[in-house]
Amino acid sequence: MQDVRLRIASAAVLSAAAFSGLWGAAGAFTWWVVMCSPGVTRGTLRRIAAPFALVSVFGAVIWFTGGPGFSYVARMGVILLVGSWVYDEYRPGEFLDLSVWLLGDGIGFDLGLVAEMGMQCLEILVADFSRIRVALALKGKTRGLRALVPAGFILIHGTLARAGDTASALAVRGYRGGGTLKPGFLTGRFDIPGFISALFVGILAFAPVSEFFILYR
């Protein structure tokens, strides 16, 4: 879905639908299978594996304590799939465009700038982490806390150092708050139908459908 406005709106509706109950989750999952699954890669599945494992642990705890553990895992799993789809479809600068379109070139620009810097930071963290893992493996620290603790320190230290450099760059470039931007969006052929179908899933998840059918009988 090329248009980030429709993509984020679809994701919000589908996530709400999935969270509301198993039927909503089923609808959102069906939507994901039809609209997104052709684009799923091994990277996508690897990315959601760890959060899904965490969700499964919580679900197990809920189940053991007598709650709807399976429902929880199913619903959160669908939300993870939707979130992963949003991440995969991300194009550089989109969050800035979206934020300015929604909130203007004051607070909207500032929030978009934060999102942009966050995405940049994430990319650097991922690249750094892969190198740190190699460096630690060379010292015989490959698993568990022996690797995680130093890696954590290094990443935090690096992020704080870069934050100082970023602040310097912002100051010298004259940042005082807000900025001019004319957001631009591309709407693909299937974007609007995709969004409408997501809305439909949302309506079905929240509307009292059974009562509608009672009235119709």
Binding site: R131, V134, A135, A137, L138, K139, F153, G158
Partner: protein, 214 residues
């Protein structure tokens, strides 16, 4: 990045622009990453080490002294060598990047590795430190030392030259024969070759010796 070739015992310099793929290739050569295609064969490599451009990637100690010990080095002599005497108790993160790089190289270079890959070892060092590190590398007799660098002027005694250009790793040959085809050669070397005085190697002393020839 496409690469083909053999790294024999000795000191190899691989020159190329920042971000041309040197770090990725360095990681693959050190056996810490599988290439997307092809094979890397390590023959007679019992021990290996890779040093990254940013020394903080390697930090595991809570103090500078602990960091030395994590490399099986006695902190006393190491700290004296890198002018950090008396700072064994501080956090490695409290050091400047230049100080951390000095510490890191002082821990790594004495190691008798069959394969030592140095990714930008001169980064964050001043000219005096670069010359000192070059002297240390120049006396390495054991194993294969591969140095990935975009350094423009100060080099150790080098046996083999490679370049990364256009996404390809190209072998230029043994020094000094390789110097004539070296695209990333410092201007002073290019000038000397043009005047018929090819240096015997690329260290400062070799360049000065060639310049003094009549």
């Amino acid at each position: 990045m496409a690469a083909e070739g053999s790294f024999l015992p000795g000191v190899h310099i691989v020159s190329g622009d920042v971000g041309s793929g040197k770090s990725t290739l360095a990681t693959a050569l050190a056996g810490m990453m599988q290439p997307a295609g092809g094979t890397i064969t390590r023959d007679g490599i019992g021990s290996q080490m890779l040093s990254f451009q940013f020394p903080e990637y390697h930090i595991t100690g809570l103090t500078v002294g602990e960091e030395c010990r994590s490399w099986s080095r006695d902190p006393g002599p190491v700290l004296r060598e890198c002018r950090l005497a008396g700072r064994g108790g501080v956090s490695p993160f409290a050091l400047s990047r230049g100080e951390l790089k000095r510490l890191h190289l002082a821990c790594v270079l004495p190691g008798r590795y069959d394969l030592l890959v140095l990714d930008e070892p001169f980064s964050s060092l001043d000219v005096e430190e670069k010359e000192r590190i070059c002297r240390e590398i120049s006396v390495r007799k054991h194993g294969i030392t591969i140095i990935f660098t975009h350094e423009q002027a100060i080099f150790p005694k080098t046996d083999f030259l490679w370049e990364i250009s256009g996404g390809n790793l190209r072998y230029r040959g043994k020094v000094p024969d390789a110097l004539t085809g070296w695209e990333h050669a410092p201007q002073v070397i290019k000038n000397l070759i043009a005047s018929g005085r090819c240096p015997g190697n690329i260290t400062k002393m070799d360049i000065l010796e060639a310049a003094c020839r009549t």
